[in-house]
Amino acid sequence: MATLIAKRLGLMLFTMVIVSLILFLLLDTNLAGDPAARVLGQFASADQKSLWLAQHGYNDPLMTRYFHWVSGFVQGDLGESNRYRAPVADILGPRLWNTAILGFWTFAIMIPLSLLFGILSGMCEGSKLDRTLSVISIVTTSVPEFASSVFFAAIFVFGLKWLPGTSGMAEGFDWVQMVLPVMVLVVYGFGYVARMTRASMAEVMTAQYIRTAILKGLPYKTVILRHALRNALIAPFTVIMLQINWLLSGVIVVEFFFAYKGFGALLLEASLNNDVALLEACAMVAVVVAVTTQTLADIGYTYLNPRIRFS
């Protein structure tokens, strides 16, 4: 177990280093276009560009600049955003917090809901509930987040006029404005997690030890709660952890649509405005979050599944 954790952590670190190198090469060097032109616009004169490059230390050797950037990143100095004219860390902090709130509510609603439906329909394969769930999950995973945002907005904002159409939170936190973004994310993720839970539950229900437990006369409730669930929930655990990676994509669309001031909208803004330092920081944060949750999912899976742990 200890070697596995050490191995996974090593791999995580390796991935992050490679990703940081790629991001740096792509965004901060002239490998893919002149960074000065990206910031100053394509009509800047050659003098302006070389002056800007010199001012921002672009004439130093590549590796020096990379190490400077990475060491700054590790210490929390993320550079200066050239659009907001402020340190990136100051902008990123509150935005990340807002997205964390959004993500928290999405998971707090999606996980119990999809586990419940997945387990119930996995318990009796082919039942009415099971078929309903499979139809619902195909439909919800077919509707892209921006389209479901449009549909929900059409129903609850334009039609019923129950909810506000934007979630800018201009006057402080307002839970009414959270409803639509959370709803869109829950609906998109629900189908997938429920389907995975269902598949896992259905597989466990056909196992020999479940039949034995039923045949030896244990109450059905005990069979489900003590025997089936413990094994059926191992796979959904990984799926849920990996959903965080998906959520990082989903929040970009949803925050953009509802003008929610979160991390995803910031990343997109940074890209559209060629705000290199901000984009690098956002991308790095996204990858760190994604890789960390993947590592945790792997370690957790091994911990939960004794067949892997002891082999």
């Binding site: 991935t15 965004l27 195909i138 059409a154 669309v253 890209s271 984009l279 991308a283 996204a286 994604a290």
Partner: protein, 297 residues
């Protein structure tokens, strides 16, 4: 005797590849879910092919801004779905937009598959350091949240049709490679592969002629699902303003251009959203039907 039978079987199966393709398509009749999916896709393909004749207006022509659905134009034709803020007929734009999405999505999927399959074959069959390097690279690419990856790639290389194909290939070939690699690892120990090796066939011939055709089942199902994802991706990129440059119609872009007016003119964003959702639903249903058939056989 045995040799003779074997030759006839081979000749037969190669000769009727087209017929076998038709036959497996006819199998789809057994799954009504798959049939519905196929019907939806067929509908949109017809719309795309017949767009020049079906569309009542020029897709980029500015005729009459903010016309409600059903308004009759000065020339006498009806704006069935209304017009957008620039006075372009939404129905015509959706019809022409079908061409955009049904051109770029399959093309991007095809390119991604070609790259992914070659990578997967090489990694699975050759193994060794090639496998290590390719697997490590795909681990790194797959560790990115997908949309973040697209935003960075498009941000660096710019938004255009070819660049969207490049970005999709870059982001999805690692996933395809993993699937192919897994299938190859299972198939490469089969007797017919050993026989081909004994005959002295080259590695690439074995990979492409002996192994790949036998891995097609799961790959076809995955391709269907992936095509759905690629349509989502193209739509989302358009929606985020990173898609195909205007003015040519693109469903995601149509939502992006008019979403600020959605509160007063919801029909402008509703129509393209319905269009894209139904097309993706078609591919997902088809994939589900195919999987059902594959499991049964």
């Amino acid at each position: 005797m045995a040799t003779a039978t074997q030759t006839t079987i081979t000749a037969d199966s190669y000769g009727s590849a087209f017929m076998r393709g038709l036959k497996s398509f006819a199998l789809l009749r057994e799954s009504w879910v798959g049939m519905i999916g196929a019907a939806i896709i067929l509908f949109w393909i017809l719309v795309a092919l017949l767009a020049p004749w079906l569309a009542p207006f020029e897709p980029n022509a500015s005729i009459q801004p903010f016309a409600r659905p059903g308004t009759v134009s000065a020339a006498g034709a009806t704006f069935w779905l209304g017009t957008d803020h620039l006075g372009r007929d939404i129905l015509s734009r959706i019809m022409w937009g079908t061409r955009t999405v049904l051109f770029y999505a399959p093309l991007a999927t095809l390119v991604a598959y070609t790259v992914g399959i070659l990578m997967g074959l090489a990694a699975g069959y050759r193994g060794g350091w090639i496998d290590d390097v390719l697997s490590r690279i795909s681990d790194i690419i797959l560790s990115f949240p997908v949309l973040v990856l697209y935003i960075i790639i498009i941000g660096v290389i710019g938004a255009s049709g070819i660049n969207i194909i490049i970005a999709i290939t870059f982001a999805s070939s690692p996933g395809i490679m993993r699937i192919v690699r897994g299938l190859v690892l299972d198939l490469r120990n089969r007797d017919y592969v050993a026989a081909a090796q004994t005959r002295g066939e080259s590695d690439w011939r074995i990979m492409l002629v002996e192994i790949l055709p036998n891995a097609r089942g799961p790959l076809i199902v995955d391709a269907c699902l992936r095509l759905g994802y690629v349509i989502i991706t193209i739509g989302v990129l358009g929606f985020l303003g990173l898609g195909l440059p205007p003015p040519d119609p693109d469903w995601g872009g149509m939502v992006n251009e008019t979403r600020h007016m959605a509160i007063a003119f919801p029909y402008m964003v509703l129509a393209p959203s319905f269009a894209i959702s139904s097309l993706i639903l078609g591919f997902n249903l088809l994939a589900d039907g195919l999987r059902e058939i594959a499991i049964r056989d």
